[in-house]
Symmetry: C2
DNA sequence: CGGGATCCCACATGATACTG
DNA sequence: CAGTATCATGTGGGATCCCG
């Protein structure tokens, strides 16, 4: 059930790890890998993709209602970035008042699968992590004598 | 080979997605899921875990040498957080000069597997994303008339 | 309705200096 | 060697106002 102990030493994973470490080597900010990983780390990006994945197509304000606490500005900025990276399509209907619909691309759905797995991991291990945090405060640090 | 088009509509994934959306619902900053996802998004955390996963055990300065560009302060802060969350162990040898070794826990190795998959996704799709970015600059936005 | 433009501040992070 | 403490800064992101 709980796969906490993982065979991370499998050739397959080691291979991927070395490939990644090679790619991120130069911390030159131009590094595309780092650049993409930043999308995963962005709170608003992940939430936007979760909701678009769930709902299919959403208008700007529909999305805004679903993402609790996001400001108009950040939703705009986030969606622009996702559109620029090819994860989301933006469709404008030239009518008054304007209607703009957002939807995941195939690439975006592929991305969604990844962050679902992340979220699932977090969900499964959250209790373990919360426990570690509690112990941390009241712990003597490990000392080898 | 390239699984860009993914069956993201599988019951399994939808189930996980709904579970996640339920958990992140209240954007109360105390939310453990959001809280954990922040670790994934942290540049220095992911790099630290990559290198610890690759090397097994590393001393403070060994790790610092491997993570290009990290400041002493940020490495300390990062390692403390990872230790607090139970992802990394910190072992202090009381000798002069001091010797401190860091190593992934089982939980940390489980985490490592997740970010390897992320990095792999980024690596596989980076060309596609870079291409999307180039097109974005020179594109007429999609308008339905 | 769906933004764009500004202002502004908190906080994350870098640089530097000191220490057991 | 492995930090801690202090100071400096830049920028992510919220609040607000305006516009087609």
């Amino acid at each position: 059930m709980d796969r906490t102990i993982v065979d991370y030493q499998s050739n397959r994973l080691q291979e991927k790890l070395h490939k990644i470490l090679g790619s991120v080597g130069g911390t030159a900010s131009g590094c595309p890998i780092r650049n993409i990983l930043d999308r995963f780390s962005d709170k608003w990006s992940t939430l936007s993709i979760f909701h678009l994945g769930d709902a299919g197509t959403l208008r700007f304000n529909e999305l805004k209602k679903r993402i609790d606490g996001i400001s108009q500005r950040m939703l705009t900025v986030t969606l622009r970035t996702l559109e620029r990276d090819g994860l989301v399509t933006r469709r404008v209907y030239p009518q008054i008042p304007p209607r703009v619909e957002y939807e995941l691309t195939d690439l975006g759905r592929s991305f969604l699968v990844q962050i679902i797995e992340l979220g699932d991991w977090a969900s499964v291990h959250s209790a373990q992590i919360m426990q570690a945090r509690e112990q941390y405060a009241a712990r003597e640090h490990l000392v080898v004598e």
